[in-house]
Subunit: 621 residues, 2 copies
């Protein structure tokens, strides 16, 4: 197993090739796991995330771009400017595979360039280019200009990763974009690239990725692909995209509405995947090598929300920018999604931040903000009227946030800091600074534990408890019933998903598979014939712990909780009416710590020993 890492020193515009030792790969696999390990080793504690000492790891895993199903993804890791702890995010499209075809399994962005720069890697050949003419540009136009420069007009050949103006202007809710419409959105790592003046990375090449045991790889791949392609959730995702969840989650009363005030949205159907398919869908689409094809290609032909043929919107984007702000117009959401992608935002964080602003605006008008703060808010708004449901104001806001004009200068800092600035820290809904995604834990109780203990902050992708609490995969639980078995399931998902993100394959596989399905594949790919299922799951646990160690080292060990509104205010509507998240979290958290071998959220030394993390025990002592 070979893993070629390319270090790009932006301070010197120099590239250095490096091979990751196989012993490290065996312990951390690739992608998210390898990124967490390297970040903990290489990023000094307590640095400003915008200092040149921060690094961004753009990593594939051993399965990326191979004949393995759903392997068109890559993972990004670095210290997050939004949360102050380890940030990471994952994205699909074509970029991951093309990075490997270009000759490298990972790229590390280091240092800081004096002037804007972009880099091309073509069949192992690395070139630094001045990016002055790309700086300030949207993602779509940036890709156009780079493809022109690289004489590679076809979007089927090569791939581009870039940041938009949001990242350039150090917005803490900026997303790293690739293939125009795909986002490694969470934790604001695009702003770290912005701080390094790194605009884009073009990759192209013809390197072959050969498994050690081709025949076994083919067989294993076939076996798993059948599981996935025949699963009912895969089918639903292909048909209606991720937005198939709108009606499902809404019917469970867990569809956060009006900045997490309600659990149902009266206009849910009008922003659902079904409605999208009926009115605006051009086709479905998949990432590299995908059988599910959950991505949407949509357009709006006419009117104020005209949008060209483009990808999206996903469930999370529709929810965050829609129900959570009371915008029930799907055309407006398609347009907003296009703009958010083009200017380079994490749509979950953006939607939450705008919902926070709308909430603050309402409170200011009611006289519930300190007088001076209300006055400042009104004045900073200029031509924006952030009333609930005002799509036109939101569209204008996207520009103002991207370029940090007026109120946008504050909103660019994310929901938490926006709320704090106006002395209403309880208004923004976040965990550890990261805005929460589209599931109210008061209505899906395992999500309370999943959110609170996520290592990157408010996130549904560390443990997607919706899978068993709502969708019945692998089996159905009652989302409102407290059940100790769910703690085990959350922990299992956290560990299993750590493996998934390190291989790197798509998490949508996990409705149909468990960790045992990957053992044969990884053996065949790497030649690690003695790899067992238990070792693989332990590797996941190791990764989950090493991420936590990064937070502990930063002094962030004790924040496994939820926002006050979710903990204390009962849901006023829907099937989960009257529920709070406190009851769930109180029931689950102690057992979770026990299972993990953590004390108050901090791994015990013996836990680290058990996981082979002895070298990091110093952090918890």
């Amino acid at each position: 197993m070979e893993f070629k890492l390319l270090r790009l020193d932006l301070s010197e515009w120099k590239a250095l090739e490096e091979k990751v030792p196989e012993s490290i790969l065996r312990k951390y696999i690739g992608g998210r796991g390898l990124g967490a390990y390297l970040a903990l080793k290489e990023i000094p504690p307590h640095i400003d995330p915008f200092s040149p000492e921060n690094k961004i790891y753009i990593l594939t895993g051993p399965l990326t771009g191979t004949g393995a199903f759903e392997s068109g993804r890559y993972h990004v890791v670095g210290k997050s400017p939004l949360t102050g702890i380890l940030g990471d995010s994952n994205s699909g499209g074509q970029f991951g595979p093309w990075l490997r075809f270009a000759g490298y399994d990972g790229v590390v962005i280091e240092g800081k360039s004096d002037e804007p720069v972009w880099v091309s890697i073509v069949d192992g050949e690395v070139q630094f280019h001045p990016a002055k003419k790309l700086w300030g540009k949207g993602v779509v136009y940036t890709e156009r200009l780079i493809r022109k420069e690289m004489k590679t007009p076809s979007e089927h050949i090569g791939s581009i990763l870039s940041i938009g103006p949001a990242g350039e202007n150090l917005s803490k809710i900026a997303a790293i974009m690739n293939d125009k419409y795909r986002a490694a959105g969470r934790t604001g790592l695009a702003a770290v690239l912005g701080s390094k003046k790194f605009k884009a990375l073009f990759v192209k090449g013809s390197r072959k990725l050969e498994p050690v045991d081709k025949e076994k790889f083919r067989k294993e791949s076939k076996k798993v692909i059948e599981k996935i392609s025949s699963h009912s959730i895969s089918e639903a995702l292909g048909k209606f995209g991720t937005a198939v969840l709108v009606n499902i989650i809404n019917s469970h009363g867990a569809f956060p509405t009006k900045n997490w005030t309600y659990g149902t949205f009266e206009k849910a159907f009008e922003i659902s995947g079904e409605y999208l398919a009926e009115k605006y869908l051009v086709s479905n689409k998949g990432c590299w090598g995908c059988v599910i094809q959950c991505s949407r290609v949509a357009k709006v032909d006419k009117g104020p929300y005209r949008t060209p043929v483009s990808e999206g919107p996903e469930y999370e984007s529709i929810w965050a920018m829609g129900a959570n702000t009371l915008i029930g117009n799907l055309e407006a959401l398609i347009k907003l999604n296009y703009l958010a992608n083009d200017l380079g935002f994490d749509t979950i964080s953006l939607g939450n931040t705008v919902a926070t602003l709308m909430d603050l605006y309402e409170k200011a008008k009611k006289g519930e903000l300190p007088e001076e703060k209300a006055k400042e808010l009104f004045s900073l708004l200029e031509d924006i009227e952030p009333e609930w449901g005002n799509a036109d104001a939101f569209i204008q806001l996207v520009w103002r946030i991207a370029y940090r004009h007026g109120i946008g200068d504050l909103a660019a800092e994310g929901a938490k800091r926006l709320g704090e600035y106006f002395e209403k820290p309880e208004v923004p809904i976040h965990v550890k600074g990261l805005e929460l995604p589209a599931y109210d834990p008061r209505g899906i109780n395992s999500m309370a534990l999943s959110y609170a203990t996520s290592n990157r902050g408010g996130c549904h992708l560390r443990a997607y408890a919706v899978s068993f609490d709502v969708l019945g995969a692998p089996e159905k639980y009652d989302p409102l019933k407290i059940d100790p078995k769910k703690v085990e399931l959350v922990k299992y998902q956290q560990d299993y998903f750590s493996v998934i993100d390190s291989l790197v394959v798509c998490k949508f596989n996990t409705f149909a598979t468990d960790h045992t399905d990957y053992v044969g594949l990884l053996q065949a790919m790497t030649g690690w014939e003695d790899l067992t299922a238990d070792e693989l799951l332990l590797t996941g646990e190791r990764i989950y712990n090493i991420e936590r160690l990064f937070a502990v080292r930063e002094g962030h060990g004790y924040q496994d909780t939820l926002p006050k509104r979710l903990l204390e205010t009962p849901l006023p509507d829907g099937p989960a009416k009257g529920r709070t998240a406190k009851e769930y979290l109180d029931a689950y958290l102690p057992k979770f710590y026990e299972l993990r071998g953590w004390e108050n959220g901090i791994p015990k030394p013996e836990t680290l020993e058990r996981l082979g993390l002895e070298e990091f025990i110093y952090i918890v002592k």
Copy 2:
């Protein structure tokens, strides 16, 4: 008479004070005249307007900020990136006076800074400040941040000149802004400041401006102020603002509509000054020391075009962004005006450029563009649908042009270059590269001569022939009748207005005054007791010739003509139906050259001798 010039060398962040010799002042007065002289002496021929060798002269005149009426203005001069010849523009508000109060009568911006910079001048003390945090920001927010930094929150104290993102991103239609909503808009000089990385200039101070003969100055001032304040046009301007012209010019069939296709607009009333006053006006307002108060303060409370209390819109902005694009919604125009100001655009050039784009889009859909060009246009548009009358598309476009995204990257170059790029050079309506203002010369025939012979390109402010052809000041002519007397009037206005722009006072004085009214004032201010009315008018002629010499030196002497559409296509509607501008221009131009002592647009050596411009005869030889 003292004139203190401050040279700001941005390359070294150094300031150097200099006194302009009185002999030069007597020949060029100040403002526009002094700027033209200095530019011709100091800016080398044939340089790229974005090279560090270009200079921007920000100048007041002897009457600026004094007790003289309407003296709240300043003038800017430099080599224009839009036209390639001498560019200049004039703006009101408070900046001119405050610059003088701060201790200087003019500032020259020279060289080029490595990093964004802004400068403050407080009672003669000059300070350079890094402007990294202001770069990319809109004008309104920039002023807010600077006032915070300078601890001068009240907008009645001190003043700020700045550029918006349009200027930073070298848009050739960018405006230099001051006092948030006032623009030295024409000829794109903001982009020159952008190329020098100069963001803003804050001025404040308490220098007294004393006339040599105070008593005489007071008397002269009183005499002229009575003339102005009692004039009916002054009254109308105070009541309805410049947009009082909408209905007047429309009724003459000279209100350019749909990119100069028609001469009347069916929705003219709905975008008129009268309608504005009825629906959206908060108050009227004036520049420093003004009795006319033609400026508007307006707002839109609710809806997609919400706009906070802010200044404007003016007649030209309403026309260019409205009738010329078929947008007949005044709320949308108020919002567009706000955005155009905030992002730093010349609204005349912006409106014409967007009208050009709409025209090209229509032609592309009809198959009248080369196929490859049409394809490129459609692809570059992204989410913009530039259909006639589409205000939402225009709003989105303002952002895209300011930051040069997609089609905005081309539109930022102005109408002429946009039309040429798509191989339709006849679509943009301009003279010498400068987009034309709101009067169709087919319906107001003296404007044909005024536009064609304007030294800065398509402009109504070198000779405002509308004054006599339409408004009857000083006396009424038939706008459709060819009358050789009008050639003399145009020439007179060109010379007289050169004086006005050099004094510097407001051109709205000229409805009620002529050049003789300023002799006593200037005598009293400067102590030039032997100054005569003839000398003053000759000075105006000298200035008009020296501007022309700049163009001749650049090789642009022979472009005294009009766009093909105006020359050849008869107006299809209104009172001027059937007229073309060719008939007028053919009748007027030869006589004009004769009066001026020019040959084919180039001053004859003997003319330069007569004007005391011997040192520049080398240019025409």
